[in-house]
């Protein structure tokens, strides 16, 4: 406690006494995120209100040699914001100003704690679009989106966060402010350090400002919900749509188990005997939309798809309802929900569906499969009870097998949730020893005392 009081005194000088906490009930509130793993309490929590304070906080952590874990809204699904080695948790939640929305050069400049949805709304009011739409966007922060390279439902056509990052300003472990990127569309001066910060998961620096690219919104869109008898037929439709050079904005899949679960809790009138459904949305120029819609419909019908289209906005909301209710419905089935995001090349989606079916059977587990079929990012969702030790052991084995077979299919351990503590042990298998060594040397050079988010990724 004496040590903690001393910490409080030192950090108070930077952020003020009312913006740092050592009480155990506050520390316990920052001991977890959305990844179901054992919580670890930090020693102190600080909430800077100005980005200049970030450098001072880093400097203090370095001098004291205590870990620094940066946290936005704490929605991370791989344990990235859990302070596994204690130390200081720095909140970005009060660094939440939208600094500029520029319509001439189409960009927005924001502080790291801006909520993704708030940015999307502000941009929309200016008649523009910020496309990345992670499922947690109502609460997630831009800083977290960049550090984790968040995806979303529109990724197939619009890409994920990295496509929109024009500039990143960040503080390095020596408290220097580093700037990379800028407004010009072409800009090749210096190393691509903004690229280095994307997916860095808090290991290489602390982001203090982000400049994001904005785009004109699509003029038209068409939404359809298509039911199939067999989930494999649905996944073949996904591949064929892409082979035909069509890029829907959204191409989501739900298997029979997921359909049944959504219907059980929400009674929205889904046919529970169907093997799978696809939610497809094409957008762009009205003529192109119409043309693509006709082609997509034809492909769906070829595989026996039962096509429903949205004529009005309300119909669109209705069609989306099933997808929006998915995670919550699955969560209600059992106490613990483990959401995976193993991702394969999109041509291998049918194989991946088969893998998940096999694994569920082999380990006798409840696994719902839904997700962004169009970009190969499925979300096998394991429903279990973390109090049941025997079942948790099978869960762990099942996850190992899913990862192994994902890599065999040329896929990746994580499409959008990050490595954190969740996937650390599998990393060598995906990237190889040489790559991990490179990570380690990079980390050692940039953060010699290892204060930034220790215990994660490598």
């Amino acid at each position: 406690m004496v040590r903690k009081r001393r910490l409080k005194k030192l950090f108070s000088k930077i952020v003020g006494e009312s913006r740092c906490w050592i009480e155990e009930e506050v520390c316990a509130s920052y001991s977890y995120d959305a990844y179901p793993e054992k919580p670890v309490l930090p020693d102190i929590v600080v909430m800077p209100t100005h980005t200049e304070q970030i450098g001072e906080i880093i400097d203090l952590c370095n001098r004291l040699e205590i870990p620094l874990t940066v946290r936005g809204s704490g929605t991370n699904l791989s344990g990235g914001t859990v302070p596994v080695k204690g130390g200081c948790v720095m909140l970005t939640t009060a660094l939440n100003r939208i600094l500029e929305i520029n319509k001439d050069d189409m960009y927005a400049r924001v502080e790291p704690g801006v909520i993704t949805q708030n940015l999307a709304n502000a941009v929309e009011r200016e008649g523009l679009l910020y496309p990345p739409d992670p499922a947690s966007m109502k609460v997630s922060t831009i800083g977290g989106n960049v550090a984790e390279n968040s995806g979303g439902l529109r990724a197939l056509k619009y890409g994920v966060t990295d496509r929109y990052v024009m500039q990143v300003k960040f503080y390095d472990a020596f408290s220097n402010l580093v700037k990379s990127g800028g407004i010009p569309v072409k800009l090749v001066t210096g190393f691509n350090l903004k690229g280095l910060m994307i997916s860095s998961e808090g290991l290489l620096g602390v982001i203090s400002e982000v400049m994001l690219k904005l785009v004109p919104p699509p003029q038209a869109r068409k939404t359809m919900l298509v039911f199939f008898d067999d989930v494999l037929d649905a996944s073949r439709v996904v591949s064929e749509i892409i082979i035909n050079r069509i890029l829907p904005a959204t191409l989501e899949i739900m298997d029979n188990f997921t359909i049944k679960t959504v219907e059980k809790f929400h009674h929205i009138g889904l046919p529970t005997d169907k093997g799978a459904l696809l939610l497809i949305e094409v957008d762009g120029h009205p003529a192109a939309v119409e043309d693509e819609y006709v082609q997509v419909e034809k492909i769906c019908r070829k595989y026996g798809g039962d096509v429903h289209i949205a004529k009005k906005q309300e119909d669109r909301d209705k069609l989306w309802q099933a997808r929006r209710d998915t995670l919550s419905s699955l969560a209600m089935l059992k106490p613990t929900l483990i959401l995976e995001d193993a991702t394969v090349p999109r041509s291998r989606v049918p194989d991946m569906i088969k893998v998940i079916q096999d694994v569920a059977k082999k380990y006798n587990l409840l696994i719902g499969t839904f997700g962004h079929a169009g970009d190969g990012n499925l979300h096998p969702t394991i429903l279990t009870d973390r109090r049941d030790e025997e079942e948790m052991k099978r869960v762990s084995e099942a996850i190992d097998e899913i990862f192994e077979r994902t890599l065999d299919l040329g896929g990746t351990l994580s499409g959008e949730h990050g490595v954190g503590i969740a996937k650390k042990k599998y990393m060598e298998k995906e990237v190889g020893r040489g790559t991990l060594l490179f990570y380690e040397r990079l980390k050692k050079g940039l953060d010699p005392k290892g204060i930034f988010n220790p215990g994660k990724v490598i």
Partner: protein, 414 residues
């Protein structure tokens, strides 16, 4: 760990089946009025649930620390309403507070006050004239608002206590001239003692449409203030007493309320936490007028009006209410700001500054759009919004919509 703490940990662990449903997604942050203000995890449901878990899993031991943040909650219920996993958050909070209060008891004076105000129906009735006069002595009139401002112990502008209670005037069966049906009207404390004219309007409107109304001879508190302060046994007792009275009346199918929080305390939380089974159907007065009586007005009120939907309103009827007000007032327009008014009963006393901060933005919208009337079918919300209007210099009349229904009816509007 002390023996007492050990027992509490064991009791808290019984809440595990409820807390386990929380998958820590954090969606509650986007709807919590306190989180939106503080950006601080202990303010929001996910944080509070984690604290309860941290206690029973032995990571922390500070019971007062956890109570501090469980108390820092308006109980607006948005977290529960928008929770993707449908976690019974209000039930977790109320039950956890009840358990933790065993170790961290309420200060004696708070407990004594709660007991006399809530458990004894006679107390308020007997002392009502005294309180009414007393309030006039210690407070100052706050101009046209009708509120009175007191400065001690905190500066607060409140609606004056009526010299005679609603029950004293209307207790018993109020017969309609050509009786079609009978209902029970449960007024709750605020209408019994402060907004007596609302009670009169409810009885008047119902009588007009051929509905006879039972009113309790003495008001018994719904128990919600006790529940929010962790006095669960007191809460259960009050909820049961009221339900027993409802059941004693055979020829009424519905219990009508004009305070959504009373409705919530008796029929929603009451059913889940107090384990009561209701023999009657519950309905808010505005919903009853539309859904059961299908009331149509042939006159409209004048001036621009808007609506604050109370947090504890049965939200499946939000659209019904909006529809009714559009028929009542030709220039009606709902508020864009759908957040809480910040009242939260005892919350507004214990966290006065935070309470006002939450509702401030709402009042600013009322001001900027120049509404002349702000409807809210809840006494708590009306008290809070009236005070906010006064504080922020907004010239708007705040009241329950049933008042205008009654006025129009008296003018021959239906």
């Amino acid at each position: 760990m002390s023996k007492k703490l050990k027992r509490i940990v064991d009791e808290l662990k019984e809440l595990e089946s409820l807390t386990l449903q929380c998958m820590k997604c954090g969606v509650c942050q986007s709807v919590c009025p306190l989180y939106q203000k503080d950006f601080f995890e202990p303010s929001v449901a996910r944080g509070k649930i984690s604290l309860i878990e941290a206690l029973y899993q032995g990571r922390i031991e500070s019971v007062p620390g956890v109570i501090k943040y469980l108390d820092y909650c308006i109980l607006c219920g948005r977290c529960k309403r928008f929770c993707p996993s449908s976690v019974n958050i209000d039930e977790i909070f109320v039950r956890a507070k009840g358990i933790l209060r065993e170790i961290d008891e309420l200060p004696f004076y708070q407990k004594a006050l709660l007991k006399s105000l809530i458990e004894s129906a006679d107390f308020l009735t007997n002392f009502q004239p005294v309180i009414s006069v007393g309030m006039k002595l210690v407070s100052k009139s706050a101009g046209e608002s009708g509120l009175r401002t007191v400065k001690f112990p905190i500066k607060k502008s409140v609606a004056p206590v009526s010299p005679k209670s609603f029950n004293a005037i209307f207790g018993g069966l109020n017969r309609a001239e050509s009786e079609k049906m009978r209902v029970i009207f449960y007024p709750g404390c605020a209408i019994s003692y402060i907004f007596v004219e609302w009670g009169e309007a409810v009885v008047g409107v119902l009588n007009h449409f051929g509905v006879s109304v039972y009113v309790p001879e003495k008001n018994r508190c719904c128990g919600i203030p006790a529940a929010t302060m962790g006095e669960i046994d007191m809460y259960k007792k009050m909820a049961k007493l009221n339900h027993d009275w409802f059941s004693s009346i055979d020829d009424a199918e519905y219990v009508i309320t004009a305070c959504p929080t009373c409705g919530y305390g008796l029929f929603d939380l009451g059913v889940r936490v107090a384990g009561l089974e209701s023999s009657k159907k519950h309905m808010d007065i505005m919903v009853f007028l539309k859904e059961i009586l299908n009331v149509k007005l042939n006159k409209k009120t004048k001036g621009r009006s808007t609506l604050h939907i109370p947090c504890h309103y049965e939200h499946e009827y939000d659209k019904t209410l909006i529809g009714e007000l559009s028929e009542l007032n030709g220039e009606f327009e709902p508020l864009e700001n759908q957040s809480c008014c910040g009242f939260g009963g005892t919350f507004s006393l214990k966290h006065s500054g935070d309470s006002k901060e939450v509702g401030a933005a709402k009042m600013d919208e009322v001001k900027s759009k120049g509404f002349e009337k702000l409807y809210s079918p809840c006494p708590g919300c009306v008290m809070q919004l009236s005070e906010l209007a006064l504080d922020r210099g907004v010239d708007v009349k705040v009241e329950h919509p049933v008042m205008d229904f009654y006025r129009l009816i008296k003018e021959g509007g239906a």
